[in-house]
Symmetry: C2
Subunit: 208 residues, 2 copies
């Protein structure tokens, strides 16, 4: 052991909650379990077991299972909201077409960087107040994206022979479908993925 | 009441199983429940309650919950297998590009015509032997589609600047994403949907 490593080994890890676990770790494992076996089918007991904790120890970290779901959905929705507001808000600059391309590429990156949380968001069906609130926030984002697509059609940059609402559904359906198969350790890096999706989609959408 | 209607009213409905329900009805309601609240979170008791039956009465119709899942997945996989074999089997005629367009359009129609069963298939995570078998069958279909995409690239009909495997993922991801939002009673009819998807996708994929 080097002197540095020895010095480092003597510094105790920060204790947040019970030994070895902090809220963030509990959240990550919970999201993975929710995605593997479904939120409704996952109990706090399952999450505790996964972490090697007792059920009462896990309540030291989180007040409820719903609290974990809420944190995960907030993570995904917060990132997507920031990207969409940047492209559609009062400060947004550039043509609607350019802003749409930007938000598509950025959405792909968010999906890859926050894959478990976005996957969970995309599977929400509205079975609780937390899920219904998330669906409502998603709907607001979908409406902003549909309006941006409509503006790009009005500009003449995007084909007008398909209804803008349908274009928006298909375009962001394509982006979201990545959650079903993408693996960060797989053969496709995020740059290739974002470029391929924007290239394919906008070649297909072009009014030329 | 007309004479015809009166005559019709006198003919008793065929009795298959307990009054008012046949296996097909039980299966449809079960698939809807699985999609709403997740397969793992749905019990045979939930399905019985939904149909107004007792738990023991429902076992008159179906041997197990897994049997219902299996029937639903077979329905979706059977249709998709037929479409893909028609486009990739030894009898398939036409260029790879033409066959790929045909299988994309036909997949969209299958998705719409068998929306609940296909939705369930797309959500399968491999949490049981039945699910793992379905995932295995899906993988075989995905491989056949990827080979068809690669053949269309080799023909020169489809752009070669994106890896054929990635094109295949994105193309059928786009098709499958329809399950997330399409409603048969919504504003988009199946002809418009199939034409819009093939138009957009192949305009984007064209090597021209």
């Amino acid at each position: 052991m080097t002197a540095e490593a020895e010095a480092e080994a003597q510094v105790p890890a920060p204790r947040r909650g019970r030994p070895g676990y902090d809220q963030e770790t509990v959240l990550r494992r919970a999201i993975d379990l929710f995605n593997q076996q479904g939120y409704d089918a996952t109990s706090i007991g399952d999450i505790a077991k996964e972490l090697g904790l007792t059920k009462s120890a896990i309540y030291h970290h989180v007040p409820s299972k719903e609290h974990l779901l809420s944190a995960a959905l907030d993570e995904a929705l917060g990132e997507l909201t920031a990207a969409i507001d940047e492209a559609t808000g009062p400060q947004a600059s550039g043509s609607a077409d350019a802003r749409l391309r930007r938000v598509v590429a950025r959405s792909v990156r968010i999906l890859v960087d926050h894959l478990p949380a976005v996957t969970l968001l995309l599977r929400v069906r509205g079975n609780s107040a937390v899920e219904l609130a998330a669906l409502k926030r998603r709907r607001v984002l979908d409406e902003k994206l549909a309006a941006l697509v409509a503006a790009a059609v009005d500009e003449g940059a995007i084909r007008s022979d398909i209804a803008p609402d349908l274009i928006s559904r298909l375009l962001f359906g394509l982006v979201n479908s990545v959650a079903e198969w993408y693996r960060p350790d797989g053969p496709v890096d995020v740059d290739t993925l974002a470029r391929s999706i924007t290239d394919l989609a906008f070649a297909g959408l072009s009014s030329d």
